[in-house]
Assembly symmetry: C2
Homo-oligomer: 555 residues x 2
């Protein structure tokens, strides 16, 4: 075929562009652009540790730099490559990352009046300043619209669309009032490329609309005005300026506009697909299908699978979202995840140990030399709250079992184990609700770089885990949808069959280690419930003693 698709993958700290051959998914070249502003792209507030924002200019600059860089690199890698052979563009971003925009769809942060206003920035997924609003939405929905809540795991999160907008209304009324509409990051970029960001016209993706904006076709789209007006009448008014219909990522969002075609060196008019969240695209790039769960493992972790309509449970408590078409068109997308994984190890190494990447490697090697249970330690992986299955940002980390001999490598291992226990809790919840699981595919930096951690995940979850060969499954997934939007393939499944990543390393659970981890996991669950479940009253007197017993046996 000799044609190409461009996948754009906007992460938390950088954006990556990937040039992919539509014939076989071969990755020709890629380029990463690191955001220039804030701390690695994240604009924080010294007075409020929960604030995490981004500047839309970083998105614009990153778009041009990464795409032109990737195209140039593709040309360098293969002199036969011609940017004119790029037939489609797919986009994924972090989310829920809503951006307040004016009537033209211009982010308020780009207007002089709001130049210095942090509330006018993009509200990054990991901004947790809206915890009170999330609790209010959860409480109101529990009372008046339980069906909204059931679809998003039982609890609305401070990371999501309406919590953030309501918080803006509370703390930044000037921005709220000036915003004609709010647009998800992943919808904004395709609209920008298509040359029309008008909020009333741009196509919204169902992936972001899904549970994060409580959108569902079966209840008429977004939450009804009666519900929103209970939160605030202004929020109900805003509903008229949002959208009524959301689309899967195989839908063309528009055609590449001449202005951006010129900036990027591409052909005007090529297809731009509707955007989606990075994890969902990563799942597609990793070959997600019914029975296959994809774990995208990085600073945080997403667990994505799909189920046939009518077969998979439409509602699973504590599993963040089940949305029709959010991953693959025509299927229920099932999304769970952990709000911090790599971030916890980074916190420990950078902040506590004041080390660097070499220390990650050293501690991994030292941790790998230990046996399960040998440290006597047990941790909860909640340093950034718990996304699933508790859906509670107001939870924090915990470490128990320290003695005067506890080493820093033991703590590092306990933190790794804690994230794997959290992963197991999600798998068990899905299994309880009949989500089929025959294989797991992991992708992302940790999956590639840390065999010890992957083996630990296999041992703790009892699942065989393969690692996707591609290092950029999110961008690859975006490129797959770029190819579908361009009409190269009849549907996403066909494009996936041709283009999705193969797998490389495979990790199989060790029964001996799993037996010890089963004991530790039982203790993890008791701490999990004691600190994380309202009304729980768990006797914990034996926890420290049982850890000492396990340690003694492991020695």
């Amino acid at each position: 075929m000799g044609r190409y698709s461009l996948g754009l993958d906007y992460g938390t700290n950088s954006v990556r562009a990937l040039v992919v051959a539509v014939e076989d998914g071969r990755e020709l070249a890629s380029r990463v652009h690191n955001y220039a502003r804030g701390e690695m792209g994240v604009i924080t507030d010294p007075a409020n540790p929960h604030v995490a924002r981004q500047h839309p200019l970083d998105y614009h600059e990153g778009l041009e730099a990464s795409a032109t860089g990737a195209l140039a690199a593709a040309k360098a890698a293969d002199p036969a490559f011609d940017p004119a052979d790029v037939v489609g563009i797919g986009v994924d971003t972090t989310g829920s990352t809503p951006i307040p925009v004016d009537e033209d769809g211009t982010p308020l942060a780009l207007l002089p009046d709001f130049h210095d206003n942090p509330n006018a920035l993009a509200w990054l997924w990991k901004d947790h300043s809206s915890m009170a609003e999330a609790e209010r939405i959860t409480a109101l929905a529990a009372e008046h619209r339980p069906h909204y809540l059931a679809r998003c795991g039982g609890t609305y999160s401070s990371e999501w669309f309406f919590a953030k907008i309501l918080h803006c209304l509370h703390v930044g009324a000037d921005v709220f009032d000036a915003a004609y509409s709010w647009v998800e990051f992943c919808d904004y970029i395709p609209a920008l490329l298509a040359g029309d960001t008008n909020p009333d016209r741009l196509l919204r993706g169902v992936c972001s609309a899904g549970h994060k904006a409580m959108y569902a076709d079966d209840w008429g789209g977004l939450p009804d005005k009666g519900f929103l007006s209970m939160l605030d009448p202004k929020l109900a008014d805003l509903r008229d300026r949002l959208y009524t219909k959301a689309h899967a990522a195989d839908t063309p969002a528009g055609k590449l506009c001449p202005e951006w075609a010129a900036k990027l060196g591409l052909t005007p008019g090529i297809a731009v697909a509707v955007g989606a969240f990075d994890a969902h695209m990563g799942a597609v790039g990793s070959g997600v299908k019914p029975g296959c769960m994809v774990k995208i493992m990085g600073t945080s972790t997403c667990d994505i699978t799909v189920g046939a309509r009518g077969e998979a449970a439409a509602e699973i408590p504590g599993v963040c979202g089940i949305v029709d078409g959010s991953v693959l068109p025509g299927m229920l997308g099932v999304e769970a995840g952990q709000s911090a994984v790599g971030d916890i190890f980074n916190w420990y190494v950078l902040q506590v140990c004041q080390g660097d990447n070499d220390l990650h490697n050293l501690l991994t090697a030292e941790a790998a030399a230990l046996k399960p249970g040998q440290s006597g330690l047990l941790a909860l992986d909640w340093n950034n709250g718990n996304r699933c299955v508790l859906v509670d940002a107001r939870l924090t980390g915990l470490l128990v079992g320290q003695t005067l001999r506890t080493t820093r490598a033991e703590i590092y291992r306990a933190l790794i184990e804690a994230t794997a226990f959290g992963a197991r809790a999600i798998l068990e919840r899905m299994a309880e609700y009949g989500v089929p699981l025959e294989r797991m595919v992991a992708c992302g930096g940790i999956a590639e770089k840390n065999p010890f951690m992957m083996q630990t995940y296999a041992d703790i979850t009892g699942q065989t885990i393969s690692v996707a060969s591609s290092s950029q499954t999110c961008a690859l997934g975006a490129a797959i949808f770029g190819a579908v939007a361009a009409g190269v393939y009849p549907d996403a499944a066909a494009a996936q069959a041709a283009m999705a990543s193969p797998t490389s390393a495979t990790y199989t659970p060790d029964e001996g280690r799993k037996a010890v981890y089963d004991e530790l996991y039982a203790l993890y669950r008791r701490l999990h419930d004691a600190f994380g479940v309202a009304g729980a009253s768990e006797p914990l007197y034996d926890v420290m003693k049982t850890l000492l017993d396990i340690q003694q046996r492991s020695a």
Copy 2:
């Protein structure tokens, strides 16, 4: 008067000799000898983290080196000083640190047959390998001799005499069988100086005999043979080779023998006082009396006060020991303590942060710049178990409240606060049982060196705390008893009045900080009970959330 007393203070890592003027307690000179063997004097077992032993040769070598060094330094400091003016010697040591000895009182470790046998060494106070035996003793006493248990806080500790001896019987029967008797470290040194270590003749101190060997005059000395035989018939047999009467430290243990007089350059025949534990002597050196509690703050912490017979409660649950004459003759000595304080900060700085003493200073400065509650953290101070008020070695550390922004200085502060919460728990228990408390005097390295920590203790306990001017209150207390044994003073109170240390800095609680700490302490108590009290079933769901609330208010 122009006369002097020599105080010998055997600590965990070193021994100090102090030359004191008996007239006014002036400290003429001192010398420290660091033990040569093991890790800073502590011989450990890589296969069992609970083992902590010491070699008696370190005690012999340290005696000669520290005493001759101090006497030489005294001569250098004051050319008028003459070693012939030393009229008495007092001794304190760590404890319970029992030593297996032969019929002559020679430690088995000094015999060729047991040269390499770790069980033949001195069993250092912080050796926790006897946890199972301590639990067995507690269980048996609870059933058959509850009065034994009541005097030692309700739980017999793995740090104590009979638990260690019974463990030796279980794991090192060769040593147990070869031991004619077992002698406490603090009784061995005076006997050595007096030239007669014969176990049947040497005088045992009531300070070590007291609750640690379950000795009390009112039940006829040591535990009865019926009780001991329930533990093991061999233990009952051993009772005949222990002792029937224990003595307060104002009793002369003997006269300095010619051999040691020659080694040390002192006059043969001067008085050697009965030995006692370091903390008890430190309390005496710091001026302990009814209404005044002395906190000896170092790697671990001891809280010592005294009460008039018949007025102070003779039994306080969870307060390790109340022993007649253990501190001051004729009064009830009340002893509590925390099994790790400075050791926890050292563990964190050395093991986790891999820093040094400079890092202690840096983290102290950074921690001091924070406000109470600002970190969102809460810790339990149980990295070395809990001596009071839970009396349970099988407890471990806990840290809760970590986020991705938690700094290492915040953790350092949380650990300091945790030890102060533990100190408060002890004070509250004593207050419940009517122990009068009008003032606190702190001594030891931490009290002198860390004003931030002392202020935090004042804020958290709500008590005004003065710091003893003397840096060697333990050796000073020993010297006070050396003077009494020599007949310089009619009793310990008179000697104390003349010789005990004045105080320097005073720390007063800040009401604003105390109010925040009261909230944190309430949470500490709930974690304390949930993990530390059998049968407790404490709801903990709000703990992380309340910490976040307090943090928010503190910002």
